[in-house]
């Protein structure tokens, strides 16, 4: 008997991800946006009002300005510490919460409403209370971040755990696999794609949470949010824009990191070939 048809080799090749076709469209949009920015700064705005939108190169120059640059990077470091600590705790907590709910229907029924409440109450309204209880420093900021970033982790993980095919469950049941083996070898791997979706959403929210914490807790170690508020109050346009840009780039990097991680961990078997 001859070997089976090997149509497999072709699918092992990676797609052309780094060609001109891949980079050109977003690059064109970036050029367009920067062009528009210059247009507004120099032509649209009256020179007396140009502080409303300083041109890009002046914004970038603020990073090298000794009066602002060092402060901005220290603030970014503070924000990053809060966001990443909060995110990691939110991921651990969210995954545990979802796994717990997935053990039995009655547990899910008992706990799911609280996950939804977490999502629906205006967390901003709770922030002063958190400051009241936990002070205005690192801990309080991390708690705010967790509250904001937790729900997508819970709901996506739960969705992933529930997406396990019935046939797979039966396959394991036929071998009398216990709950722990089932979780480790079937449910968690099957839930990974949904968990990574959750992580990307939560990562973005964690950055938001860390900056929101700053707006409320001006004391303690100020992050980018506090800096933005300060520059705004003083009408320091260039460093204001530079800080906003820094926060945005940080958010993008975190989001991109989880996309990259997902591709590394599950890209082999999930998603486009």
């Amino acid at each position: 008997m001859s070997a089976p048809e090997p149509n497999a080799a072709a699918s092992l090749r990676l797609p052309m991800r780094f060609g001109v076709k891949y980079w050109a469209p977003p690059l064109a949009v970036a050029v367009l946006i920067i062009g528009l920015w210059y247009f507004v700064s120099y032509i649209f705005l009256d020179p007396s009002r140009s502080y409303l939108l300083p041109p890009p190169h002046e914004v970038l120059a603020a990073y090298w300005d000794p009066a602002f640059g060092p402060d901005m990077f220290v603030a970014l470091w503070n924000t990053a510490r809060v966001a990443l600590t909060g995110l990691l705790i939110a991921i651990a907590l969210g995954v545990s919460w979802a796994i717990t709910m997935n053990q039995a229907t009655w547990v899910e029924r008992s706990l799911y409403p609280y996950a939804v409440i977490l999502q629906t109450i205006p967390i901003l309204a709770l922030v002063p209370l958190i400051g009241f209880w936990f002070g205005f420093d690192f801990t309080a900021r991390v708690i705010v971040t967790i509250l904001i970033a937790l729900f997508p982790m819970v709901s996506n993980t739960l969705f992933g755990l529930k997406s396990v095919e019935k046939g797979h469950m039966e396959l394991f049941a036929l071998q009398h696999a216990g709950a722990w083996v089932m979780l480790r070898k079937l449910q968690l791997p099957a839930a990974l794609p949904a968990m990574f979706t959750g992580m990307r959403i939560s990562a973005g929210l964690a950055v938001v949470g860390a900056i929101v914490g700053d707006f409320f807790f001006q004391r303690g170690t100020p992050g980018v949010g506090a800096l933005i508020a300060k520059f705004q109050a003083r009408l320091n346009a260039e460093p204001l824009f530079a800080s906003i840009l820094l926060a945005s780039v940080f958010g993008i990097v975190v989001f991109w990191f989880f996309g990259w991680l997902a591709k590394r961990v599950i890209g082999r078997w999930h998603g486009p070939i």
């Binding site: 396959l171 036929l174 071998q175 696999a177 216990g178 070898k185 990974l192 082999r268 078997w269 070939i273």
Partner: protein, 258 residues
């Protein structure tokens, strides 16, 4: 968890490995899925069950495997070594062929060396040597089904249950896998219970074909298939084969009308 026996139990040549006596399954809602089913499958027998869709033929298999329990009657399985092949290949997409084939032994907590040896033999048996590192999504439907077969083969099955395994495959692949399955049957001498909705597949593969009626599923006909194993593929183009397929088809139609 007690370790399942690693010693093959001594079973006499023609012992009944699966025995249904008056088996009935009534669902909590009152729907009767199966009624009064008597069926015995012995070592060296390959029994196919054909019936209209929804007649409970898959339920029969689920009861045999222990996934469901009969509400009346008796069901006995005389071996620990039961293979079960699902309608879909049910491979874990994150495991390569090797990992998928090793899964069952892994779940039964067999040692790593044992697992590897059993997987190698099984992959060999289904002619997939060289594809160990491939992921399910890199394989064709027929190849995935062969991985699924290999996975069950690591159980060293004495009783092999098949739930319409080739139903989703094209005709050419299906015929090819039918021959593969017959080769395995001759080589391994297990007892086979095969659910299908294809009468010609049932006749070609089996030593006995059982016909079931529409719901509630009852056995309305049994046909012995006389040709010896290993079966000559040319048998499919003879008049005797066509005649037997015709007989079974008639019984099937009467069962639906009844």
């Amino acid at each position: 968890m007690p370790k399942p026996s690693t010693v093959t139990p001594e079973v006499e040549p023609h012992a009944a490995l699966l025995d249904f006596k008056g088996v009935q399954l009534t669902y909590p809602g009152g729907t009767v899925a199966l009624s009064g089913v008597d069926l015995t499958v012995r070592r060296g027998e390959f029994v196919s069950v054909v019936g209209p869709s929804g007649c409970g033929k898959s339920t029969l298999l689920r009861i045999a495997s222990g996934l469901e329990t009969a509400t009346e009657g008796e069901m006995k399985v005389a071996t620990d070594h039961v293979g079960y092949v699902f309608q879909d290949a049910t491979l874990l997409p994150w495991r390569d062929v090797q990992g998928n084939v090793e899964l069952l032994a892994e779940l039964r907590e067999h040692g790593k060396a044992d697992r590897k040896a059993a997987a190698k033999e099984a992959i060999d048996l289904v002619n997939l040597t060289g594809f160990e590192k491939h992921l399910p999504r890199q394989l064709s439907g027929g190849m995935r089904m062969r991985v699924s077969l290999a996975r069950s083969l690591t159980m060293d099955p004495e009783l092999f249950l098949f739930d319409e395994p080739f139903g989703a495959l094209d005709e050419i692949t299906r015929e090819y896998l039918n021959d593969e399955l017959l080769r395995l049957f001759v080589e391994k001498n297990f007892a086979g219970l095969f659910i299908t909705h294809s009468v010609s597949e049932a006749v070609y593969l089996s030593t006995k074909v059982v016909v079931m009626s529409g719901r509630p599923g009852r056995i309305v006909g049994e046909f012995d298939v006389p040709w010896p194993m290993p079966r000559d593929p040319e048998i499919r183009y003879t008049a005797e084969y066509a005649a037997l397929v015709g007989e079974v088809s008639h019984a099937l139609r009467e069962g639906i009308d009844a």
